[in-house]
């Protein structure tokens, strides 16, 4: 089954306009690990740093525009997190969830900037140069950071570690095991005895689903952003597919992707929200019973 999946994946990779993997600038040596997505991740990190520093360097009771914006985002996100995970867990869960949301959002939107994925090293000789500009680069200098499984998987694993820590701290191992494997609904007697193996089996499924959470979280985000990048590239090269002239290709490469840029703006927010919200829900699911009982 996996070998067929591998074959179909390979075929899909060949068809995709954008490489499914992040590409290094240099093939060998120490810098071989410096890929275009890692570089963009560093740029995104610097961008976040400068904006946050600008907003909080001279923090005062009467905020300036940047401080006001940063405070608004902070308070808004905190309220959202508090609504999902509850006021008790919110202070511990918020820093990570806020980081996930902000980082993913900025990274997603950064990927929509002109030049990301289109300026790079080496060019496809099949495409016709226009006004000194050649076709698709072989190695783009910039690649959306979230279109790299290394980032999405790493982020998801970091979340799972924090999720485990918060769950153990708030619920404890006994409560967590009871919550996962023990029969629910306050049943007693013979029915309870019958339901024990069923709930135990459900608990095993639950554990498997928990183990697959980082996979689902990371692949969902990666798939959406990678698909968006492919869509934009496909739209920009549609004129070439239709056999338009040089000027037609140039105009279509600007006009046709335009509506999809707006859609990708929305997808960027949506995916950041989905990732952070699912993380919040996972925390809530494993800690809510503890709050209810107390």
């Amino acid at each position: 089954m996996f070998s067929s999946l591998g074959d179909s994946s390979a075929a899909l990779f060949q068809l995709a306009a954008v490489s499914i993997t992040a590409q290094p600038y240099i093939e060998s040596g120490f810098l071989a690990s410096l890929t275009n997505s890692i570089f963009v991740a560093l740029v995104v990190m610097a961008l976040i740093y400068f904006v946050v520093r600008a907003g909080t360097r001279r923090a005062s009771l009467i905020p300036g525009p940047v401080q006001n914006g940063v405070e608004f985002i902070f308070e808004f996100l905190y309220d959202q997190v508090e609504q999902v995970v509850g006021p008790k867990v919110a202070p511990r869960a918020f820093p990570l969830l806020c980081t996930i949301f902000v980082y993913v959002l900025v990274a997603n939107w950064f990927g929509l900037l002109p030049g990301v994925g289109t300026i790079g090293i080496g060019h496809d000789g099949d495409r016709m140069p226009f006004m000194g500009l050649a076709g698709e680069p072989e190695i783009p200098l910039l690649r959306p950071a979230t279109a790299d499984v290394n980032l999405t998987l790493g982020m998801a694993l970091c979340f799972m570690i924090v999720w485990f820590y918060i769950t153990m701290r708030e619920a404890g191992p006994i409560e967590f095991l009871k919550h996962t494997f023990a029969p629910k609904g306050g049943l007693t007697g013979f029915i309870n005895v019958i339901l024990v193996p069923i709930f135990f089996f459900v608990g095993i499924i639950e554990v498997i689903s928990i183990l697959f959470r980082p996979v689902s979280l990371s692949l969902r985000l990666f798939g959406n952003i990678f698909a968006g990048e492919n869509l934009l590239h496909a739209m920009s090269s549609l004129g070439e597919q239709f056999g338009l002239g040089t000027v037609g290709q140039f105009i279509s490469s600007i006009v046709l992707p335009l509506p999809f840029y707006f859609m990708e703006l929305l997808v960027g927010v949506l995916q950041a929200t989905v990732f952070a919200l699912l993380c919040a829900v996972y925390i809530q699911l494993s800690t809510a019973h503890d709050e209810e009982e107390h």
Partner: protein, 169 residues
């Protein structure tokens, strides 16, 4: 595991890149925690405290104002009452004084009138006595001249008595 490794490899996952991305993510977390969460939480807490203090001060000032207004109203009412009482007392006092003065003036006027009557009466009596005396003298002299004799003391007494009787009638 090999299949998973192959899939991850096809997706471009390698340990160095994976660790690098985790490090970058943790750096973003550290940046936000140090430069955003901390300062913003502190400033929001400070602002919340300031608002609380301001609200407490406002409530205190409002209470003080209400107390002051109540006290002022009480003082004004008290002053009004005192003033009304003083005015009433002044009116009563003025009325009593006026009455007293009026009575005194009336008494004085009556005394003056009585004295004037008495003086007039006394003066009239004196004038009448003087008139009687002068008229008696005149009658005696006239009688002496008419009769050509010197009237005795007895005659003069008789003439004075008769003249006085005539004047009195």
């Amino acid at each position: 595991m090999d299949q998973i490794g192959e899939i991850l490899s096809n997706l471009g996952v390698t340990w160095p890149k994976f660790i690098a991305q985790i490090i970058i993510f943790l750096m973003v977390y550290t940046i936000l925690k140090k430069f955003a969460f901390g300062p913003i939480t502190a400033i929001l807490e400070e602002r919340r405290k300031r608002i609380e203090d301001t609200e407490a001060d406002r409530a205190k000032i409002k209470k003080q104002l209400a107390d002051s207004e109540s006290l002022a109203a009480e003082k004004v009412a008290e002053a009004n009452e005192t003033a009304a009482r003083m005015i009433s007392e002044a009116r009563e006092s003025a009325a009593a004084l006026g009455e007293k003065e009026k009575q005194r003036a009336t008494q004085e006027a009556q005394d003056i009138i009585a004295k004037a009557h008495e003086a007039t009466k006394r003066e009239r009596e004196q004038q009448l006595a003087s008139l009687k005396k002068d008229f008696g003298k005149l009658v005696i002299e006239a009688t002496g001249k008419v009769t050509g004799k010197v009237l005795s003391d007895e005659d003069q007494k008789t003439i004075n008595k008769e003249t006085a009787a005539e004047l009195a009638s």
